[in-house]
Amino acid sequence: MQKMILVDATKCTGCRACELVCSVRNERIANPARSRVHIIRFDSTVFEVPMLCQQCVSAPCIAICPVKALSRDKESGVVNVNYDLCIGCKMCMVICPFGGVGFDPVSKKIFKCDQCGGDPTCVKFCETKALQYVDVTAISLRKAWEHAQKLSKVIREFTREPLPK
């Protein structure tokens, strides 16, 4: 079963606890600059958007890596970095459309989300459940449910018909 970190930006409060705990768990320092997840916050609009590696199936980072340091774990679907091979050219960072790859100025290496090996710390500390760790195959049905719920409310308001008993 492959799982992914599902982002629901509408639930995010922008508290950045995910950034904080990610850096503590993975880098042993409180430092959002070295976190695998980032909250993009706009002071002048409503939304805070958590951004992180989506573990793409057709991953640009794997394709562009000149030394094949990036590879996919067959079982979990997670894209991992082999630091013995990585030359720090940062091409993966440049090509990632989500900003999911970072560069650590201390260790001089790239870093990205590995879902903490199957128990993502960010998800554990997300108070409003804006981040959830779920089975990828179940996501579409979850989204369908959430949307249908909203839709049924709207339809009920428009038609003003009494609910079936």
């Binding site: 508290c15 950045r16 002048s44 100025p105």
Partner: protein, 629 residues
């Protein structure tokens, strides 16, 4: 372990110096408010003009800011207050405080005065003074964005001033993000006087932790503890507005300045009304699971359609009950104006409603108001006064000077109607039925304010055994009592400085609930994050030291026991409304004096509120000011 530093900036000469913080000073003052007090007591020349180049502006992060601790988001700023002439001290949540630490600094000390507008750019161990001429004149939201664009980095967090600070409104605040504000004591005017538009920070250095593997476990444990309290759950849902329903119904709220103590038909000011009609989500400050900020769109007026955040409980009074206003839309507009112009809503509400009462009573006339008819429950009056205050025109120019100076201009007979202590206006609450609250605003070192001590738990009639267990002494569990309340306030006056020095938000501490973090919890957090070992008693002594140092600062500027009393009206006029327990109540002067004596005695101060020599020696304050760091 790499440690955060103090940066000294002289805006007159452009000199910048960076220094380590000695461990001995850390152990005595922790950080944030505590260490800022030490810096101010040593660097501010006694008797200096608060808006002159001799005043010193400090801004800092708490010792636990940016670490995995519950609600570690507060930055503190201070100076000699241009409002009161005593200690200026205010703090705010948001994201600035951790960013300052990530950039390598815990404290900045800014002296002198720039000859043209500047802002400080603090990043990864460096401090630069940059030109702010193009930014000067812009509001707080535009300012923050212009700085990001100027530095080409959208992650920059700034603490800045709006037009109110630039125009030296004596209650201008320091703003960050969409709404977070270090509101009280007019520190924004000090920045304005120095031509300092903002302090911008961005850091990638992070905060090193002494025991990172333990940190996450402890973070989770303490978050669970804070969230277990029902008070926290209520604030998660409705923000601090949650307090309004009970305090308004009970009769603990100022209406039409100070004419009555409950506003009837105020259904629209209830948090449920806000939540159902305007709130589009809740926002949380850095690392905080409580997320108490309402996100909303300004519903009407010239700024309709713009996104902003707030309002807090106090703003419901400052733009609502104090003007007799029942429409939330008015409060939401006022809140937005305070956000962009950068002024203290509490001070504005109190000063402007005072003016309206003076006008009603014929103590000021059309000549002074410039023809403006001042009326209750009137948006036109309120927003015209906002504009006049911020841009220093007409009557607003007088109100912008704060209580003491405005009274001097409008006549001594107006003094009775102004609700201030030590020259700072009270918030919108009426403490006549609650002696502990009244004492708290009386002794508060920064002037009439609830955040120095207010023990909301005093209202709950908790079992005496529970209270004894918590405080360590017997407490009368009746909020209308005077007995033992001097001691209760003492306890909170020694507890709050500790949390403020750690950068922890009041919402997560023992104010609304005993099921929050106490000294023991902070002992554990400090050990795991910094490796400093304390006992709970030592932490409380640090709180005592900080509070006494603030007291010393005020004494140096001429304060004494006479400045620790609520306004005359508290002793003369009984409350006309509210529930039976709150109706017909006024403060008994004799009993108030008894509370004050008890409070001073607990602090180790004499009858005049001056710390005794042995107290200073015990706290290690006998050699202050020491002028060494």
């Amino acid at each position: 372990m790499r440690k955060q530093k103090i940066g000294y900036v002289d805006l007159t000469t452009g000199e910048i110096e960076k220094q380590d913080i000695p461990q001995s000073i850390r152990r005595k003052y922790l950080g944030g408010r505590g260490l800022d007090m030490f810096l101010l007591y040593n660097h501010v020349k006694p008797g200096c003009d608060p808006l002159g180049p001799d005043n010193v502006f400090v801004i800092s992060a708490g010792l636990l800011s940016g670490t995995p601790s519950p609600s570690p988001s507060r930055f503190h700023c201070g100076a000699k207050s241009p409002l009161t002439g005593f200690i200026g001290s205010s703090n705010s949540g948001g994201y600035f405080s951790p960013e300052l630490r990530f950039a390598g600094f815990d404290h900045l000390v800014v002296k002198g005065k720039a000859d043209k507008p500047v802002y400080l750019w603090v990043h990864d161990g460096e401090i630069e003074i940059r030109d702010a001429s193009p930014i000067w004149g812009h509001d707080t939201i535009a300012t923050q964005q212009m700085i990001r664009d100027d530095l080409n980095d959208q992650q920059v967090k700034s603490a800045c001033i709006g037009q109110a600070g630039e125009n030296l409104v004596r209650f201008a605040n320091v703003r960050t993000g969409a709404k977070n504000a270090a509101g009280r004591t007019g520190i924004g005017a000090v920045m304005g006087s120095k031509k300092l538009k903002a302090v911008a920070a961005r850091g990638t250095l992070g905060v090193e932790l002494a025991h990172p593997e333990e940190a996450l476990r402890l973070y989770e444990e303490k978050i669970r503890k804070v969230l277990k309290s029902k008070a926290t759950r209520a604030i998660q849902e409705y923000g601090t507005m949650v307090v309004f329903n009970t305090s308004n119904t009970a009769g603990q709220i100022r209406v039409r300045n100070f004419q009555t103590n409950t506003l009837d038909h105020a259904e629209q000011l209830e948090p449920e009304y806000m939540y159902e009609n305007f709130t589009i989500g809740m926002a949380g400050c850095f690392g905080c699971p409580i997320h108490c900020r309402h996100k909303y769109i300004v519903p009407e007026g010239p700024f309709a359609g713009i996104y902003t955040e707030g309002p807090e409980y106090t703003t419901l009074g400052a733009f609502g009950t104090e003007f007799g206003v029942r429409r939330l839309e008015t409060v939401l507009q006022g809140n937005y104006l305070a956000n962009i112009y950068g002024f203290d809503t509490l001070e504005f509400g109190s000063m402007a409603s005072w003016a309206i009462e003076l006008y009603e009573k014929g103590l000021i006339d059309d000549k002074i108001t410039g023809g403006l008819k001042l009326e209750w429950d009137d948006e036109k009056t309120i927003f015209e006064l906002v504009d006049q205050v911020v841009f220093r025109r007409g009557l607003g120019d007088i109100l912008a000077e704060g209580p003491e100076r405005a009274i001097k201009k409008l006549g001594e007979d107006t003094r009775y109607y102004n609700i201030n202590i030590k020259g700072m206006s009270n918030l919108h609450s009426d403490e006549r039925a609650i002696p502990s609250f009244a004492l708290g605003i009386g002794t508060a070192t920064r002037g009439s304010d609830h955040l120095r001590s207010r023990p909301v738990i005093d209202l709950f009639n908790l079992p005496t055994k529970v209270l004894r267990n918590h405080y360590g002494f017997d407490v009368v569990n009746d909020y209308s009592a005077y007995k033992t309340k001097g001691k209760v306030i003492w306890w909170h006056e020694t507890y709050n400085p500790v949390t403020d020095s750690l950068g922890i938000c009041r919402i997560g501490t023992i104010t609304f609930s005993l099921n929050r973090l106490g000294f023991q919890d902070y002992v554990e957090l400090i050990r795991v994050m910094t490796d400093m070992e304390f006992t709970p008693e030592e932490l409380q002594q640090i709180g005592e030291r900080i509070y006494t140092l603030e007291r010393l600062f005020n004494i140096r500027e001429g304060a004494s026991r006479k400045d620790d009393y609520p306004p005359e009206r508290y002793f003369v006029e009984p409350t006309p409304a509210g529930l039976a327990k709150n109706r017909g109540k006024k403060i008994d002067r004799e009993k108030y004096d008894m509370m004050l004596d008890e409070n001073y005695e607990m602090h180790g101060w004499d009858k005049n509120g001056i710390p005794r020599q042995e107290t200073l020696e015990k706290l290690g304050l006998d050699k202050e000011p020491s002028h060494i760091l």
